[in-house]
């Protein structure tokens, strides 16, 4: 017998194929494919001496200690047993082929040149998870809880609350340190909605990044052993958020939806030695923690693109109406942004807007300024005009004239926005009391 190299596919042909096969030949082949695969074989060509029950020449196929048949004959011949396009599939990863020819291939004194056969085989993944492919040792299902097939093998996993044992098949209740880090997910009592096992000490920890608030939504059915008078004496479901107890639940009344306002939640589930309640299931989701709606401190404050809701890492930008300064305490700010922090508070308090004060206008040498509006003030939009000490000086202004307004930038500017103040130039040749001659 010639072992066939462990390939995933190949051909097997009768001796001398495609020339006629020899008489008195016994050949056999052992096809082995890797574990996790089965062998699938078909005949691409089949031409053997036909005979009743394939008594003279034949091919025999065996797999899994069982015969898959004895074949001979020609396509369409009435005698013999031609395999046609039949697919031969093993259950295991082996298949045995044997070929037998007798001493002659004569028919009425004529030698018939039967060519024999060309077979093609390939390894096909064994779906170990298919119940029909139960383990050879007849132990029933390969996996106690969940079977996952992949090409060339399979692996087992367990339902939530259970842990795969070292045999990689069986599952044992293990829920003492279930960790959930996805933004949303499901957790439930072991075997939910079937009755949960006894003597459980389950701890489900949901740990999300800071700034997220976990929302727990209990699904139906919700059923934990309870007592009419005493609160949860048998089994308890406790919910804690960052060490803060949110609640202890049992009975049949679902807690509904709980917004924990925390990115860390622990769900503890303790059961006693008996009971048939179906347990609980939670769909947790998370949303970025909310911050209080920003409220301006005065009517000059502008919150840009005010949103209906602000959540973790959201931010808002504040500016002031023209002519007002952003102030944080006594400090003037060029800009202001507040970011919603992981604990649901703003990273800095709302500023306020203070009207721009231009301060006293620049003194005009040999001149004065006077306030146009009453009461005199240096705040935004106040107006002054400059005059020179006429008639001894005359005013020289820029194109913007002699009126100055307190600008949003906090400077006094003329009509053209120029800060430069006028100049008082001496007036020459104009004495108050020039010599006047009277008598002529």
């Amino acid at each position: 017998s010639s072992p066939v190299p462990r390939k995933l596919f190949g051909e097997i042909r009768s001796p001398n194929y495609p020339k006629p096969y020899p008489n008195n030949n016994i050949s056999s082949w052992d096809i082995v494919v890797p574990k996790g695969y089965v062998v699938k074989l078909t005949f691409r060509y089949f031409d053997l001496e036909p005979s009743e029950t394939c008594f003279y020449d034949y091919v025999k196929i065996r797999a899994d200690k069982k015969s898959l048949g004895r074949y001979c004959g020609q396509l369409g011949s009435t005698t013999g047993n031609h395999p046609g396009r039949k697919e031969f599939v093993s259950k295991g990863n082996r298949m045995h082929l044997s070929f037998h020819s007798d001493f002659s291939n004569e028919d009425n004194g004529m030698v018939i040149p039967y060519k024999g056969f060309l077979a093609y085989y390939k390894a096909v993944d064994l779906d170990e998870c298919d119940p029909n492919n139960a383990a050879e040792d007849g132990e029933g299902l390969r996996c106690q809880h969940i079977c996952h097939n992949y090409v060339g093998g399979y692996f087992c996993s367990c339902r939530p609350g259970y842990q795969l044992q070292s045999d990689y098949h069986s599952c044992k209740v293990e829920c003492s340190s279930e960790l959930f880090t996805e933004a949303s997910g499901y957790l439930s009592s072991p075997d939910y909605p079937h009755p949960y096992p006894e003597d459980l000490q389950c701890n489900y920890s949901i740990r999300l990044e800071k700034g997220l608030s976990i929302i727990l939504k209990f699904l139906e059915p919700f059923e934990i052993d309870d007592h009419q008078q005493v609160r949860c004496p048998y089994d308890q479901l406790k919910i804690q958020a960052q060490g803060r107890e949110i609640g202890e639940f049992c009975g049949k009344k679902s807690p509904g939806s709980i917004e924990t306002k925390s990115n860390e939640v622990d769900i503890l589930f303790f059961t006693d030695e008996s009971g048939f309640s179906r347990g609980w299931k939670i769909h947790y989701t998370s949303e970025r923690i909310r911050c209080p709606q920003p409220v301006p401190r005065d009517q000059f404050t502008i919150i840009r693109d005010l949103q209906p809701v602000y959540r973790y890492q959201d931010y808002f930008i504040v500016s002031c109406q023209t002519g007002y300064n952003l102030m944080k305490g006594n400090q003037k700010l060029l800009s202001f942004t507040a970011v919603c922090q992981a604990d649901g508070t703003w990273h800095q308090p709302m500023p306020h807007c203070e009207i721009v004060n231009c301060g006293n206008p620049a003194e005009l040498t040999n001149g004065i300024f006077s306030y146009v509006n009453e009461p005199a003030s240096n705040i935004y939009q106040s107006v002054i005009t400059y005059q020179c000490n006429e008639p001894y000086y005359h005013i020289v202004t820029g194109a913007g004239g002699d009126r100055y307004t307190c600008s949003p930038e906090g400077t006094w500017v003329d009509r053209d926005g120029q800060e430069r103040i006028p100049t008082c130039l001496p007036v020459c040749g104009k004495p108050d009391k020039p010599v006047v001659e009277v008598q002529r």
Partner: protein, 251 residues
């Protein structure tokens, strides 16, 4: 000033009293320049002409804002930052007052008011003010009948044509004739006793420009032969406008 009148307060608010080598006059330009005669800084033939300008700058006393000398002294001087003497002025040539013009820059601008006001400079093209007979006023704290005046006086004098001046000057035979250049003009009378005199040097000859209604400086009291014994000679400011503006504009 000879044959003049007491000036009233505010009549000549540009008038400065200077004290450099002796008493002199000057006129305020803008609010920080004093126009005067170069020979009040470097008198002709003076042994002290080797004193440096820096030295003179420190020594120079400038008074403004009053018609009474004592009052002026009480008001204190205006310190001088820089002195500019026209390069054509030659202190060693006693017969030639060409270029007799100088500028004193005050350290601090003065605040103008009714008694302190600058005089205007003439328009560059305006020669009307130098025509024969054009009346002007000259004020000064100079000598009147051998007395230094304690009060600002002024006298009204007509400008005289260049020919008349030259004609008159030619009659004044002296060992060496005085130079009468294009940069000068003369004014006054041959017989009337009205003239400027020592101590008035540096003061300005002003005229009222009726068009603009402004008083304009056309000349600077420069030299003469005696006082009120004929014409007085003045530096023709019109010819030095570029020099003046070059210095003042530069600033």
């Amino acid at each position: 000033i000879v044959g003049g009148e007491r000036a009233g307060k505010g009549n000549f608010p540009w008038q400065a009293l200077t004290h450099i080598h002796g008493r002199g006059g000057g006129a305020l330009l803008s609010d920080r320049w004093i126009l005067t005669a170069a020979h009040t800084i470097f008198p002709k033939g003076s042994a002290r002409n080797n004193v440096s300008l820096d030295e003179l700058t420190k020594e120079a006393d400038i008074y403004l804002g009053h018609t009474n000398v004592d009052e002026l002294h009480k008001m204190g001087t205006h310190p001088v930052r820089r002195i500019f003497v026209h390069p054509d002025y030659n202190p060693n040539d006693e017969h030639n007052y060409n270029g007799d013009i100088a500028l004193l820059e005050l350290k601090y601008p003065v605040t103008l008011g009714p008694t302190v006001l600058p005089i205007c400079l003439p328009d560059t093209s305006n020669t009307t003010f130098y025509m024969d007979g054009y009346m002007g006023y000259v004020s000064g704290f100079g000598v009147e009948k051998n007395f230094l005046s304690n009060h600002l006086k002024y006298v009204k004098l007509p400008a005289v044509s260049h020919e008349k001046c030259q004609e008159w000057l030619d009659t004044k035979t002296r060992d060496k004739p005085m130079v009468f250049s294009e940069n000068m003009f003369c004014a006054g009378f041959l017989r009337q006793k009205r003239d400027t005199c020592q101590g008035d040097s540096g003061s300005v000859f002003t005229v009222l420009d009726v068009e603009s209604g402004r008083w304009v400086a056309t000349g600077i009291v420069s030299w003469g032969i005696g006082c009120a014994q004929g014409y007085g000679f003045y530096t023709k400011i019109l010819n030095y406008l570029d020099w003046i503006k070059g210095i003042i504009k530069e600033d």
